[in-house]
């Protein structure tokens, strides 16, 4: 029997058809992977199933019954639950409180906390979640918080669980743990739909795969056994991809960027602890690590945004001074880790964003007057060079997709030919096509002799691009090795514990 049957689903937005006559079936008790790039319509399709978005056409059957969910509550009552990319948890409440919140029913005045904790603890044990129900959610790791969301769904008697990009925020070890839990849930008869754009995971975890592209269902319900990463990638993007290939540097030059003794203290704690490194021309120096281990502060210090306790940064032998402006002029390019807050001004045009930070250079302004002709010509060139999908340079950046927004940032930084580039999370939230493209651009820039510092939470990305790979743990670089020295598992261990001894002992 099918748990979910969606037929001829249509959802139109003013400028785009997000879901275009899509059929989608999920068998009962299976793990079904819904695959597609960002913007392919997979999340919209699931939001329609979950009652968050009203479709413009089509019918939905859940467990064989025609449904018409008006809101997520209706869906939850029918045993359907969705875990979103952004968790909806209250950090100051305990795990148990978070799970039962909204389900206390009539017990508004005297909420039986003991019973709630007990019930939640039982649930945790039954599925092997390894979480303390009394712990505050704010003290949990990202992976644990995600499990709390899943427990929440199970507590609400979910029989069908939708997970939206659950692995985007997890380390490899946490992904493995999640998969164990998912298999456990499947064996208990729960149907799971997992939305992802990560191909390896789709192949590893699912029973069937459905692939969406540009709002259309390309292939629905293919048995995973018949899929390979390559075949799925081709379906997803609609052309041949070369995701696994890479190339290491051939001509490492002199040292370009030399960092010594960087220490950043925040609230009395050393968040970056005496970090030193040197990066050569034609080298990508990658730093892997779980988020929150000092990466943000490291980036801010290297780009002059904060004043560290101690630091000496030389680029091409010249000591850098001053704030962000001084570092920028000193040849430090910066692709910020969060393009929406640090990288772009979403309510300004593409052209205006392309000169941000460089608007005072001779090229773009003389005596304080902007050279609008040059700016527009430059923006048009950037749009063409980096294949940015936008009607013209006068569109607001907010109207672009994540991948295209990131290309705007990258074209801005790279066209100034900086000697040393701090690149943080360059492909976060961008689609596979743009990711491949951005990786290519980075490799080309390295081959042209730039020194690149790559900081990313995406381990695959760091492994693929880095010529030298370092791991940051609690503000320290705990391991720095040439590319391909460590296995993925060893790196993951370093990210989680700061040492890889345990792995060797096993």
């Amino acid at each position: 029997m099918n748990s979910v049957e969606m037929k001829h689903i249509i959802k139109r937005y003013p400028l785009v058809t997000a879901v275009d006559d899509v059929d989608f079936c999920v068998e009962s008790g299976e793990i079904h992977c819904l695959l597609g790039e960002n913007g392919a319509g997979k999340t919209t399709l699931m939001k329609i199933l979950y009652g968050m978005t009203m479709p413009d056409g089509g019918s939905i059957l859940v467990n064989g019954q025609e449904t018409d969910f008006r809101n997520p509550n209706d869906a939850i009552h029918s045993g359907l639950s969705m875990v979103h990319q952004h968790f909806q948890l209250v950090p100051v409440l305990s795990v148990a409180e978070n799970v039962v919140v909204g389900q206390e029913g009539q017990a508004f005045f005297h909420f039986n906390k003991k019973k709630a904790v007990q019930e939640v603890q039982q649930l945790i044990e039954r599925y092997g979640f390894h979480i303390d129900a009394t712990k505050k959610v704010g003290e949990l790791s990202v992976g644990e918080q995600q499990r709390v969301e899943i427990i929440k769904a199970l507590y609400r008697k979910a029989k069908i669980l939708i997970l939206d990009e659950p692995t985007a925020v997890l380390t490899p070890q946490e992904v493995e743990e999640l998969f164990v839990v998912m298999r456990e849930m499947r064996s208990m008869g729960i149907t799971i739909i997992i939305i992802t754009h990560k191909l390896k995971e789709a192949v590893e975890i699912s029973d069937h795969v459905s692939v969406m592209r540009d709002g259309k269902m390309i292939q629905s319900g293919i048995p995973t056994a018949q899929c390979t990463v390559e075949s799925l990638a081709n379906m997803m993007v609609g052309r041949q991809m070369s995701l696994s290939s890479t190339r290491r540097t051939k001509n490492k030059g002199d040292v370009v960027a030399e960092l010594k003794n960087l220490t950043v203290v925040k609230k009395g704690k050393k968040v970056v602890d005496n970090v030193s490194f040197s990066i050569h021309a034609g080298e990508i120096f990658g730093i892997a690590g779980v988020e929150g281990n000092g990466q943000t502060e490291l980036i801010e210090a290297l780009t002059g945004l904060i004043r560290p306790e101690s630091m000496s940064l030389k680029v091409d032998g010249k000591q850098l001074h001053g704030g962000a402006n001084g570092f920028l002029r000193g040849g430090v390019g910066h692709v910020p880790e969060n393009r929406n807050t640090r990288g772009l001004i979403s309510q300004m045009t593409v052209a205006e964003n392309m000169i941000l930070g460089y608007h005072r250079t001779e090229r773009f302004s003389k005596k304080g007057i902007l050279n609008l002709g040059e700016i527009h010509a430059f923006a048009k060139q950037g749009i063409a060079d980096y294949a940015i999908k936008v009607p013209n340079e006068n569109e607001l950046v907010s109207s672009l997709s994540g991948g295209n927004q990131q290309k705007v940032v990258i074209s801005r930084v790279f066209s100034e030919n900086p000697r040393f580039i701090v690149v943080a999370q360059p492909t976060r939230g961008v689609d596979v096509g743009a990711m491949e493209y951005i990786h290519d651009v980075l490799l080309n820039l390295r081959d042209a002799g730039a020194a690149i510092l790559l900081i990313s939470a995406d381990l695959d990305e760091v492994i693929r691009l880095s010529d030298t790979l370092s791991v940051i743990y609690e503000g320290k670089l705990v391991s720095t090795t040439p590319a391909d020295t460590l296995t993925e598992l060893q790196i993951g261990q370093l990210m989680l514990t700061g040492s890889n001894e345990e792995v060797e002992e096993r």
């Binding site: 785009v16 807050t341 001004i345 979403s346 300004m348 930070g357 907010s398 109207s399």
Partner: protein, 353 residues
Amino acid sequence: MNRLKQLKPNDILSSTAVKSVISLLIALLIGGVILGVSGYNPLSCYGAIVKGSLLSPSALINTLVQMTPLMFTGLAFAFSSKSGLINLGMEGQMFLGGLAAAVVGGLDLGLPMIIHLPLTILSGMLAGGLYGLLAGLLKAKFGASEFIVTLMLNYVATFLCSYLANGPLREEGSLMAQTKTVLPSAQLPELVGGKNLTIALILGILLCVGIHLFLNKMALGYEIRAVGRNQIASETAGININKVTLTTMFVSGAVAGLAGVSMSLSGNNRFVDGATAGYGFNGVAIASLASHNPLAVILSSFVFGALRTGSLALSMTQRIQPEFADMIQALVILFVAMPALLTGLKIRKRRAK
């Protein structure tokens, strides 16, 4: 879902100009209802307003006279909000500008008009500008909210001006709290004889155009807009946020000061305590109606000028208080400041489908 372009104006209600007009119309509609409930005929009242503000040469001139200071305060507020700052101190900046101009204009330095008048205007701008800068400094140095600081500084400025006009600077023998008249060499040339309409109107329009060009064609104007829309990204791009804050508050204060200047150097040609009260705060409504666009300020200050003039005429013919104009203004602010209302209407419509 980024590619869905949700932020693109895809509905006629989204366009800012349309939104402003709709807000104005809703405000007038509700004003009409209130008039009706109060026992007046709304249509004849609005007819009287239009007649008293637009339909005769002298009415039109009066509207332009009222419009002049409103244009400056509206522009001052619109400009500050471009950099994300809320300058609510226009009232005080205007008072100080007006008083400074009256004092400098009253000095008998034996200067010809071509020097004395610009000097007088500049002194008023400087007074307003420095007062705005004070709030900017407090923000840049100590992170004080310019919103609160400027609002409170209004009291300091208006009471200080009131004291000075009542005391040290009071015209000898005058029964009123006012300075002596400025010298003819410092009076703004009139556009129409004996009607109080001066070249300040032209100056204001040119200033609106100038500020518009400054914001869009100059590197500093670009920085001001960038900071206003995303301070963190601007900081990351090496823009000096404090410099932008100080510049903005100085310029905004100077423009607000010009409102006082335009009134001190025309009509009675002196600073009269309390004569300009309210024009400063009206700037908020004017800028809101103009969606903070300097060019649109010209139009929206004309609308408010007409409303003020019309309600004055109305109060004479229909015994309706001139505060009626204030009510309409308040309603306009209410509706302009409620984009949620219009988006709300939109969502309802979509749901209904």
